[in-house]
Structures are given as C-alpha cells and as structure tokens.
Amino acid sequence: MTFESKHSSYNWDEVKESIYNKTAADVERALLATRANLEDFKALISPAAQPYLEQMAAKSRALTLKRFGKVMQMYIPLYLSNACANACVYCGFNHSNDIQRITLTLDQVKQEIAVIKSMGFDHLLLVTGEHPKDCGFSYLKDVIELVKPHFSQVSIEVQPMKTEEYKELVDAGLNTVYIYQETYHKERYAVYHPAGKKSNFSFRLETPDRLGEAGVHKVGLGCLLGLEDWRTDSFFTAAHLDYLEKNYWRTRYSISFPRLRPHAGSFEPNSPASDRDLAQLIMAYRIFNPDVDLSLSTRESVKFRDNMMQLGITAMSAGSKTEPGGYAVYNKALEQFKVADDRSPEVVCDMIKAKGYEPVWKDWDDCLQ
C-alpha cells in the first residue's frame, strides 16, 4: 500500500466542504486538544479559525519553543540547472519559455560552493529542473559526491526518482529530499502539468513512500500555495504527513510553504494565499504536529519572515540566489522566482540573534550518515 490508496479514499469536494463548514466550537476544541488530529487541523485552517489567530500564535510559539528551543536552522539553495523538459504552466523553468538554459559544470559548482561556504553555510540544498540528459541521476550523484566533503548536510529538490536511485544517493551522502506534490487535486494536476515526466501524478504522489523505503533521513513535503484551494491542498499535505509518520517512522519530516510569486511566464494564482492565510497555515501545522520541521524560504518578505520565525518556523534560508550560477559564476541569468528577502545571511543572522535565537549552521555529521 502507498499513499495513493489513502489519497483516493478522499473526495476533494467533500474535504473542501468539511473544512469550510468548521465552526468556532471546532476551532476551540482543536486549540484545547492535547494532541490535535486531522479534523482539528481542518478546523485550524478553516475560515472559522480566522478570529483565533492570536491564540493560535501563542500555542504555536510555545510548542515550538518546547520542542526546538531558541534556535533556527540555516540552509541555502544551490540552483544547479534550469534545463527542464516539463511544461508546468506556473513555472519559469517551463521548457517552452524562451530563456537561456544553464547547467553548471562540476568546476562551476566548485566556484559556487566556495562562495556559499564563505557565507557560513553548512547545510546545502541542491535544486534542478527535470531534464534527464542535462541534470539527471548520474549528474546529481556526481554533484553530491563533489559537495559532500564541504557540507554536513546535503539535500535535494529535484525530479522524483526510483527507490534504488535514492539508496545510491544516500550512500553518496544525501540526507534530505524535498518533493512537493504541487496540488493533490488529481484532475487539476493534469491541467497544470500537461507534458513531460511530471505529468505522472501517481509517480510523484508515491515518491515519499519510495524515500521512506530507501532510508532517506528526512523528507520535505508541501504543496504550491495558490494553484488550487490552499486549505484543501494543505489538508491533503497534512494527511500525507500523518500517513508517512505512521508508515516510515524512522524518517524525519519537514513542511515547506512555496507560494506562487511573479516570474517570467506570468502565471496568475488561482487561489492566492494572503500573508494572513499563510501565517494561519503555519501555526495550524505546528499545533497539529509539534515535531515536524517548518521551513520558510526567501520567497517571503522580510517582515513576514522576521515575525513568523518566532511562531512555528524552525528552518530558514538566507542570501538565496534562484538562478544557476547566481553566487559566483553568472550574474542574473534567469531566476525561477523572485526572492522577496534579499538580505545577506549576515544580516538575517543578526536579526535572529536580536530576537533571542541562535542560528544553527550545523546539525548533522558525516559520522551519522
């Protein structure tokens, strides 16, 4: 059994209706629960919870402090390639977009990581589009082997792969895999992903199962906020997390909150999530699951990040460049998305310290791999 059978036991419209039918009493019950469940999560992300943001923030903050303490994990993405054979209608890397395609050579990767190391980072996230020829499995393996001696923790956010491939990458030093379903609405998924390998909804949906089987240490989930109703998609993400925790109990999990931003292909979000919505969602996750990592990227604004870091978030990137070669090799090729927080890692760290938190650069070691 994989998550697909669980997924198909739900009906999107019914889930959506039950979220929107939640009442203030449901929200109050969720806030008082010792251990919130999926129904409580629905209540916490529902419109009925909007007047309760202050209570949610207090609870989310307290739970995060207790479980994670006054620390913030620091990571940085390294875009390796913008070559892509997919046709995701919302993405700047869409193969039909007429942009300069770049895949970094191993020598160029070395130049990039020299700059990244000088900023202080020890946790690295490798990002590519999906292009089997330019940046497929063997390219990624080469890059992981190249960067591993320089970083305690190496993560990837790339195309879904096979179990055996993940096992090989773990042996090469891979720690974490981020794989976002984009949307759990199967029919609408087909509209957003009309061509390329990514059009296979099930293969993507079952990826975390394969990651669990492959023994990947940490798995990052998420949906692309703005595509479909963000509340319903987030419920499915939480249900996915719940399923994975029960079935792959040795794996650690993380949730990210990619929100659609303006980009070269100019795609208008169908169901935009406001800052207030996103804050509600982050706090709902924390109350639902006190142990999951919650990560916030530089897609979000300075003010939003500086405040949410105390209300549930446990990992932040800083100084990110979202184009291949952005740190050293090229200047401004073409970004996947615009960063909203372009402060240097040093400035972000000063902010974290000023809030009474310790930035954590290293939280893994080769001896544990």
Binding site: K66, K70, W249, T251, E358, D363
Partner: protein
C-alpha cells in the same frame, strides 16, 4: 552529601546538563556554570569535529566540566559504534552518552540496538551511559554488559512531563549496582528533587533550563533542587502512610495479659 563515583571520576554535582535549545552559546555557558554541573552532554551532530575552534566546545572549556558526547541522530547499533569512535578521536574522551532513537518524533530509545551497541562499546573501552526506557530488565542487562550507569527516562525527551515512569524507576533504583541517572522529561526542579529523594544517583536536565526565560536562574534552581533531594535521601525521608496512629495503643491489652 556524598560524592558520586561514575566512570573514572568523582562528581560533586549530581546535576548533569545538556547543551541544546539555548538562545546563544554564551547563555548556555552561563547557565551551565550557574548550575555547577560537571558532566555536560553535547550532540556530535552540532559540533564541528573537523575544526578545533568549534564555538559550542569553546564555551564548555572549563576544567571542572567533563564532556559527554552523545550519538543523537544514529538509528542503529552500527551507526552508533561508528559515531562513537569518531567522537573519541576528535574530542579525546572515551565518555559517551549512547542515544539510539530511530523514531525522530518522540525520540524514544531502541532497546535492542542500545544493548547491542553498549556491549560493543564497552569492549572498545568506552565509558558508556545509555539512554533507555525505564525498563528494569533492560537496565540489568546493560549493567551486565558493563555500562558505567543507566539513564532511564522519566518521560519523552523535551516533554517536561516529569516522572511519568516513577514506579519503574523505583524498581530500577532498587535493583541497580551502577548509578541510575534519570534522563529526559524532567521539567521542573521539583521533578528533579523527587527523583533524587527516591534515590536516583543523578539527573540530566536540558530543555527545562534552556527554554526557560531565565536559564541562568533556572540552572541555579535545579542545582538547589538536586542537592536538596539528595540530602533528603541521605538523611532518610520520614515514612509516609495513610493509616493514622491511634493515640490509645490498640495492642496495650497484650501487656496486661
């Protein structure tokens, strides 16, 4: 108050502390110094073993502090033994807090892998302090393979729930020939005092100090609670009972016979 003999050392303080979750390494150092703790555990994953200027270690560099590297992050015995050997080499200590919690959610220890690793690490010359469930039989098995102490949990790590496993801890303390260190779950000085009054040899506290709005004061509070609890244990606590003693003796008639 008696000193604690553990491994190859004597400890005046029976409060062991952790280094995670503090708002800064300076605050961590200040709190640990205020607690007068002499055994401080640090996660291998957090220190830079390749560098000799790691910031966490720099703040723990005091002659009275014995470092206790821990293996948090390993998922089985094989990984634990490997990590322990690297730690010994890099940190120049054979002290080790053996933590094998393959479950990243509640961080509950794996008894099977812990016993396996403990046996091997003792043979390799480590002073092994295993973090384990409050399981009296497992504690005896660990003692048999030669661990320097046993570290049963009071409640899940970081939960601040206190001595949820109290009845099992009583049995462990009663049966043990090695020091019993109550680890995890201690959320308040009163929990620590309670464990010490019961006869625990020491307690390990991290979250309750680190996450307090005033870690230095909290470190001091735990020091006092641990000392009070130990002193009370050594002075022997008054018996408690639910049956009142009758003021006219019930058996006085026996003298009249």
């Amino acid at each position: 108050m008696s000193v604690l003999n553990l491994g190859d050392r004597e400890f005046k303080s029976r409060l062991f502390t952790g280094t995670g979750k503090f708002a800064s390494n300076q605050l961590m150092e200040d709190a640990i110094l205020a607690s007068e703790s002499e055994l401080v555990t640090v996660a291998l994953r957090r220190v830079d073993l390749k560098s000799n200027v790691d910031d966490i270690l720099k703040h723990l560099n005091h002659p009275h502090i014995q470092l206790l590297p821990n293996t948090s992050g390993v998922r089985n015995a094989k990984e634990a033994v490997f990590a322990a050997q690297l730690a010994r080499e890099a940190l120049q200590t054979n002290w080790l807090k053996l933590e094998i919690h393959p479950d990243p959610k509640y961080l509950l220890p794996d008894p099977v892998e812990t016993l396996k690793a403990a046996e091997e690490l003792v043979k390799l010359g480590f002073i092994v302090l295993p973090y384990i469930q409050a399981d009296p039989v497992l504690c005896k098995r660990l003692e048999e393979v030669g661990t320097a102490a046993v570290m049963p949990l009071g409640a899940p790590i970081g939960s601040n729930q206190g001595l949820q496993t109290k009845e099992m801890l009583r049995i462990i303390i009663e049966q043990s020939n090695v020091p019993v260190v109550v680890d995890a779950g201690i959320g308040a000085p009163s929990h620590a005092a309670d464990a010490m009054e019961m006869g625990a040899d020491a307690v390990l506290v991290n979250t309750a100090i680190a996450v307090s709005p005033n870690p230095v004061e909290m470190g001091r509070a735990f020091k006092m609670a641990v000392e009070a609890g130990r002193m009370a244990h050594e002075a022997q606590l008054a018996q408690t009972g639910t049956v009142a003693e009758a003021s006219s003796p019930l058996t006085a008639f026996l003298d009249e016979l």
